[in-house]
């Protein structure tokens, strides 16, 4: 039965697309963040987002009317929860996507191996957005704006984001290293998972006037407790788990061996919202401002929020 439905859906979706292919493509090719060359036909009117960050970008660009599918984790803005869910983040309902007949799917790097090839076989254009730096986020917002014919909205959004980023970065850029604070960013406590270089979090720490003590590691990594104690972080950020679980935060606060660090001595342990720090969306700039004020309370973030 399922197969039959799939074949049926295939026929429905592919036939018009094959027909579409016969006319010469008018739009150019786009290269996405996984290095894939994607051809976009016309201006997409039916968009599906496979990541909460992409949903936030779509809303920030005023494209919500064209958004026809989201994930169960898309909770911002609240209105996104009203949209039909096609995915539990990594667990994607391909049939449902095909049935919704999207003309653009905004994916994430986790969809590289199975979801993207499956959608490609259905001739559904997929663009993966991966933003390991603020600059990359800005260019991805511009890309979505350009593809969807919202260049102006993207430009003004990016202008305001860039202004706010520069307000913070401008104040920390000239700081000598000894004024910057050693920062440890914890994503799980047992073992200690942290975030190294090549990540958005690392970029935020640097721009907020911090020195990431895990900068010698790359990406998400565990870090030996004795190294953490030895490097003596002055500020500790703990990413809360979804559903407001504060297991890791409470652990760090109560673990006797952490009491020797300057961060604990000065009560500079902060709980970070995973919906902001775990998503590369415009709100990450709120995160940058929050981080900057936690690390350097004297830093002014005017114009914020």
């Amino acid at each position: 039965m399922k197969k039959l439905a799939l074949v049926f859906a295939l026929v429905i979706v592919i036939l018009p697309m094959l027909a579409g292919c016969q006319t010469a493509p008018t739009e150019g090719n786009v290269t996405d963040d996984l290095g894939r060359s994607v051809q976009i036909q016309g201006i997409p009117q039916r968009i599906i987002s496979l990541a909460p960050s992409n949903t936030e970008i779509v809303y920030a660009l005023g494209l919500e009317d064209r958004l026809i599918g989201v994930t169960t984790y898309c909770n911002y803005p609240a209105a996104a929860q009203e949209k039909p869910a096609v995915s539990e983040y990594s667990n994607v309902d391909i049939e449902k996507i095909v049935a919704l007949q999207p003309d653009l799917v905004l994916a994430d790097s986790i969809h590289k191996i199975d979801v993207i090839p499956a959608l490609e076989r259905m001739n559904i254009p997929v663009i993966a957005l991966v933003s390991p730096t603020l600059e990359k986020l800005i260019s991805n917002i511009a890309l979505v704006g350009q593809i969807c014919g919202q260049d102006e909205a993207a430009k003004s959004l990016n202008q305001s984001l860039q202004d706010r980023i520069e307000t913070v970065a401008g104040q920390t850029r000239s700081m000598p290293d000894d004024e910057k604070q050693r920062v440890f960013f914890v994503t799980w406590h047992d073992p200690l998972w942290t975030v190294g270089s090549g990540t958005m979090i690392n970029d935020l720490i640097e721009k907020a006037g911090g020195l990431n003590i895990a900068a010698d590691l790359e990406g998400n990594q565990t870090m030996d407790l004795e190294t953490v104690i030895q490097r003596n972080p002055q500020v500790i950020f703990v990413l809360s788990s979804m559903g407001d679980q504060d297991t890791s935060y409470n652990y760090i606060l109560n673990e006797p061996r952490f009491q020797a660090t300057e961060a604990l001595k000065n009560s500079l342990v902060f709980r970070m919202d995973p919906d902001i720090f775990g998503r590369t969306a415009p709100r990450i700039v709120d995160g940058l401002e929050e981080m900057a004020q936690d690390i350097h309370p004297e830093v002014i973030t005017t114009g914020a929020r």
């Binding site: 047992d190 030996d224 407790l225």
Partner: protein, 365 residues
């Protein structure tokens, strides 16, 4: 080894004399082996205390250690963090690795003897799968007020419940057929593991925590964990050692063992309970570390033979040694990040085991 070495062509007296001498020689060999292994264990534990991702000079390590001995007064000329790294991080971690290795080694040897099956390991009848399910449920539940002992507690309970269910399912009247026990264990284990896999899949941002729990780690081991796990493991190992002789006799055949005056069913139950308890006590804190429980008993058997009176204590010592070495590798080969200890045990254990197998080239079990 159940010696049936009576000299057939000699007189009874000569045979008895030979046996007596052989027994005495064996006993002293046993004693030397156990003593030698214990000394090696202590020496290596102290040696690995001096290495870690933070470089601390050897002399400082010694001074810190000696300063904790009674009647020794040493001027504290090292930073407070150095002292804490040695006695607050490395020492409990090494001890935890040692006691967990001992537990897994002994439990593996006991299961292999009990089931007379070379493929048996401590996780055969559901301890690991039960503990893993308990832990992963703990990752999902929002009851954080229960603190850092919440997940170990659930893992411990999960392990005991899983094995109890397997036991109750497999029991036929007053006896416990070993094959039924293994099959029930495999079936229930597979069921529990699939639930754990599902929880891992939907756990999303907790996935790092669950996966590192499953491979096993000593990263955050502390004195509290040592103090909680050690009593269970010590008592369990002592109980198992007391039953080393009955376990030897049971290698023949359960019926024959019964005729030789051993209460087979009671022995089985006690040994199962004790090895389940020590495995659960280890696994609930450090996760399901693989390979130790299966490779250590075999390696010991290859070198020292199948007599449980020597196999069990040496499996404890060798298990402790392997896990201490594996954990040292885990925290030192790619500093400052850690390589999961379960992966190291496989890398250290499997080739060593294969070399032993090749050298012996005869059936060992």
């Amino acid at each position: 080894m159940i010696t049936a070495n009576y000299g057939a062509d000699r007189g009874p007296q000569a045979g008895e004399m030979a046996l007596l001498l052989k027994n005495r020689r064996q006993r002293s060999f046993r004693l030397y082996s156990i003593c030698g292994m214990s000394v090696a264990l202590v020496v290596i534990a102290i040696l690995v205390l001096t290495i870690g991702s933070v470089n601390i000079p050897l002399g400082t390590v010694w001074k810190v250690l000696l300063s904790h001995l009674p009647l020794v007064s040493i001027n504290e000329d090292w930073p407070a963090t150095t002292g804490m790294i040695i006695t607050g991080i490395r020492l409990p971690r090494i001890l935890m690795a040692g006691i967990c290795g001992a537990a897994l080694g002994v439990a593996g040897a006991t299961y292999q003897g009990l089931f007379r099956n070379p493929l048996a390991d401590p996780y055969l009848i559901g301890v690991a799968q039960g503990a893993a399910l308990g832990a992963s449920v703990g990752f999902l539940l929002p009851w954080t007020f229960l603190g850092s002992f919440f997940i170990p507690l659930l893992a411990f309970l999960g392990a005991l419940v899983a094995v109890s269910v397997v036991y109750l399912v497999a029991r036929a009247g007053k006896t416990l057929p070993v094959t039924t026990l293994i099959l029930a264990g495999v079936a229930i284990g597979a069921l529990l593991m699939s639930i754990t896999s599902y929880i891992t899949l939907i756990s999303d941002d907790q996935i790092h925590g669950i996966v590192t729990w499953l491979v096993g780690r000593f990263s955050m081991s502390n004195w509290e964990q040592v103090a909680l796990a050690a009593p269970y493991i010590a008592v369990g190992i002592v109980v198992i050692l007391i039953f080393a002789r009955p376990l030897n006799v049971m290698q023949l055949d359960e019926e024959q063992a019964q005729q030789l005056g051993i209460n087979v069913e009671r022995t089985k139950l006690i040994l199962l309970a004790a090895s389940t308890l020590i495995t659960a006590a280890a696994v609930c804190f450090v996760g399901t570390i693989g390979f130790v429980g299966i490779i250590i008993p075999h390696a010991v058997r290859l070198i020292w033979g199948p007599d449980h009176r020597i196999l069990l204590p040496l499996s404890a010592l060798a298990g402790a040694l392997l896990l201490i070495l594996a954990d040292t590798a885990s925290r030192t080969i790619m500093p400052p990040t850690e390589v999961p200890v379960g992966i190291i045990t496989a890398f250290l254990g499997a080739p060593f085991f294969l070399v032993l197998l090749r050298r012996r080239k005869k059936a060992v079990f």
